[in-house]
């Protein structure tokens, strides 16, 4: 191990980690929006949208991100749709993540007992109030662990972005291996960089999970 070498290339990793984090965070945020929309379309049985959401979820969950990216980045320009590598990455990550988030949110909503709906309504809450104060807090509390797992999963998935020439962590490591043949150092720093990004995220979600565990009303705590 050559510490001097590692110190010299640390700034490259920091910059790449920034890109990984920026693309990952944008993708996660958009995934939550797409997931919530799909979940709403299915929950309220909106006629056509409900089917569209169903087909989309199956398509996105059963295909790899790398293939989705190749289609977006190498396929679409051939029929005149040119997207930048970053746009492709975000679109791809959102396409994949939206479906996973939709499933997490759905299982959260399904876990709320029917009696909660009925009690809320019989107390005179409007359907909106019922959703806002009774259903959503419980549904979200149940969904948080799997939303957290999805967030970690999506950031891990960003590692394929190097295949469409985005200078993320993976790309920098490949570059250093190719240019200097410093495989050990490059891979060690790569692994540490992902640990530095994902360990805090995973810990933050388990703390959040513990704080939000107020939904256990009526069940086992």
């Amino acid at each position: 191990m050559d510490i001097e070498f590692m110190r010299r290339f640390l700034p490259m990793y920091v910059k790449a980690a920034g890109l990984t984090l920026r693309l990952g965070a944008t993708g996660i945020a958009l995934s939550l929006v797409v997931g919530a929309l799909c979940c709403l379309a299915r929950q309220f049985r909106v006629p056509v949208l409900r089917r569209v959401a169903g087909v989309y979820i199956e398509l996105a969950r059963n295909t790899p991100l790398l293939v989705q990216l190749f289609f977006l980045y190498f396929g679409l320009p051939k029929i005149g749709v040119k997207l930048s590598a970053e746009t492709c990455a975000i679109v791809g990550l959102t396409f994949l993540g939206g479906a996973y988030m939709a499933e997490s949110l759905r299982s959260g909503l399904e876990a709320v007992d029917a009696i909660q709906h009925e009690s809320g309504l019989s107390l005179g809450l409007t359907p909106m109030q019922n959703m806002r104060y009774v259903i959503l807090p419980q549904a979200l509390a149940t969904a948080i662990p799997s939303i957290g797992a999805n967030a970690v999963f999506l950031i891990k998935e960003t590692s394929v972005f190097s295949a469409v020439a985005l200078a993320d962590l993976m790309y920098v490591a490949k570059d250093l291996i190719g240019m200097y043949y410093r495989t050990d150092e490059a891979l060690l720093m790569l692994t540490l960089a992902y640990l530095a990004l994902l360990l805090p995220l995973s810990i933050a979600f388990s703390l959040l999970e513990r704080r939000l565990r107020h939904a256990g009303f009526g069940g086992a705590v």
């Binding site: 199956e58 790398l66 293939v67 394929v160 495989t183 891979l187």
Partner: protein, 222 residues
Amino acid sequence: MRDLAVLFKGNNLQRLLGGLGVTLELSLVSVALSIVLGLLAGVLMTLKNPVVRAVMRLWLETVRIVPQLVLLFLVYFGMAKTFNLQLSGEAAAVIVFTFWGAGEMGDLVRGAITSIPVHQRESSAALGLTRGQTWRFVLLPQAARRLIPQAINLTTRMIKTTSLVMLIGVVEVLKVGSQIIDAARYDAPQGAVWVYGAVFFLYFFACWPISLAAGWLEKRWA
């Protein structure tokens, strides 16, 4: 639309399907190994021994946090450089996916075993069943019902993750796709959209039935 024909030109379709075969073969070997090792790991994870628990926990967190592509690079390039161990891309893939899959599978097994209420065990003892009988007739059937749908889901995740092996030089369906596109660069300039579209649907039709089966079993056994 004209360039759609590139899919059916010569033996292109056969080559793509052959690539899909490589993908499925790699994932099925890894899945099979993961199931065997995962069952063992799962039982180890339920043990109370603090050392065993710590080791298992470290393993699980590692495979959960380090991206599979990084693990592939560590094994494929790292091993070659550090230990002078020249693994083929396929061997590296099976090692990595089994390392990852067995950890995830172990956690599913652990979850399935610990989710069975204690009173099931106590009731069996009260009924006079022996330890072996308790496992055979009471605990394992219930654990299996919880485990199987989740294990099937893990299988589809592993099939999808296999697409990464093209990045360490294994010729699987995605790589065959890009070879076909490169070869037909002049005859079919728009080939990329059709070939990658076809690869997309090949993956979809490989994974979708498996996902459906998992969903169906989950509902039936819930």
